[in-house]
Amino acid sequence: MIEQAISTSPPHPAAALQSPAADVMAATRRSGDLAAPLYIAWQVTNECNLACLHCIEESGPGKAFHDELDDTQVFGFLEQVMERQVPYLSFSGGEPTLHPKFFEMVEYVCRRDAQLKIETNGHGMSLEKAERLKRLGVKAVQVSLDGASKETFNRMRVRGDFDLAIEGIRNLHAAGVPIEINYSPTMFNVHEIGQAVDLAYQLGACSFYTGRTMYTGNAVKTWHRLAPAEAQYTKFFEVLHQKSSEYRGRMRVYFHELGLLEELRYRLQHPAALLIVLPNGLVKLVNALPFVCGDLRRQSLQQIWDNFLNAWKDPKVARFIEDLATDSHKTSTLHQWIYL
């Protein structure tokens, strides 16, 4: 007998660990059953045209790592990814479109029939670029839109401009590229969540993602100006439940209410089949943890995948996560990498 769709994994948190899409990947079989990752989230450069208050990667102008992968390493890695039949990748950053080989990388992936998502601030997304992405066949472009007004958006996105982001989204829509919107809540934009969801729909988005903002990266320095109060979060999630129902069948509204500790505890038991690749080729377990499980400059993708599966069982990982229960500020040191 063939039994169909008989089990559904328990709901689990997603958004705050990485890009919202990234963590919804845990197959109901354990990741250890898989021969290769299902998803590679690649921060292709740490360079960015903006310097956002909450940026987990502390990206910004002049913030490219001095040792980012060179072209040979970039395309060598992509070839391994294609050979291992990894079906899904994302390019993020920093601002991925600033990578000098961005379009060549996109073409390389799409030509090999893998699915690719671009995570961008949308500021440089001209109609010409959007049409090029459409022609190349990207699966989606995710644009960060933290606010429904210029006032809140520009406050969050230092050097950024709400109007430019909107223009970029409109260009993507005009070109026919599927659009996803990502929203990071703060004390000063949290009240706009309903309007932001509505705006995303008006702009033609197919998905809207949000979750709790993490205490890491630039947010460590700006937390007193960023962190929403719990009462604000309560209202925020109430609105999201409402909007999720309102847009059902028209636009997917994804949000994750649990805090980071609960999410990491879940991930410890259910590692996603996902590798986080940094601009310099280091590979992290998950970007909310400081643990590095491989280096693309020295190891093959297969070796790193094997390391990844073992690394989740390292007692240091479980200890770090449990320590978060008493010291939530441990996430402030995520960029002090710990090699496993």
């Binding site: 559904t8 709901p11 197959a27």
Partner: protein, 110 residues
């Protein structure tokens, strides 16, 4: 959220000549967003649009693999029947039910 197709292989262990029922000539094809990969346990089908992951046992993996080669539903049934012993004559019913489920999940065109 991840959903699993738990598809048991039944007792099929040998092959027999395929008997294409010829009931449905409609082509079966995975949607662009559905990506299949063989695994030791069978395979995984990943809907990158919804980000659902389906774990497939060997029988289901065989079906999806055949779908990837391009065929209509009758041809698919014939090929799967040829690959697995169909002791109770249930292959056709099972393949049809499975493809119907794939359609319901939005994983097949049409």
């Amino acid at each position: 959220m991840a959903v699993e197709f738990a598809v048991s292989p039944g007792e099929r262990s040998a092959t027999r000549p395929g008997e294409a029922p010829g009931l449905d000539q409609a082509p079966v094809k995975l949607v662009k967003f559905a990506k299949f990969r063989q695994e030791k346990f069978g395979g995984v089908l990943f809907d990158t649009r919804t980000e659902k992951v389906y774990a497939l046992n060997p029988t289901a993996a065989a079906i999806v693999s055949e779908i990837g080669t391009g065929c209509d539903e009758s041809g698919l049934i014939g090929r799967i029947s040829a690959r697995f012993r169909d002791a109770g004559g249930s292959i056709e019913r099972e393949v049809r039910a499975f493809t119907a489920n794939l359609r319901q999940q939005g994983l097949l065109e049409g």
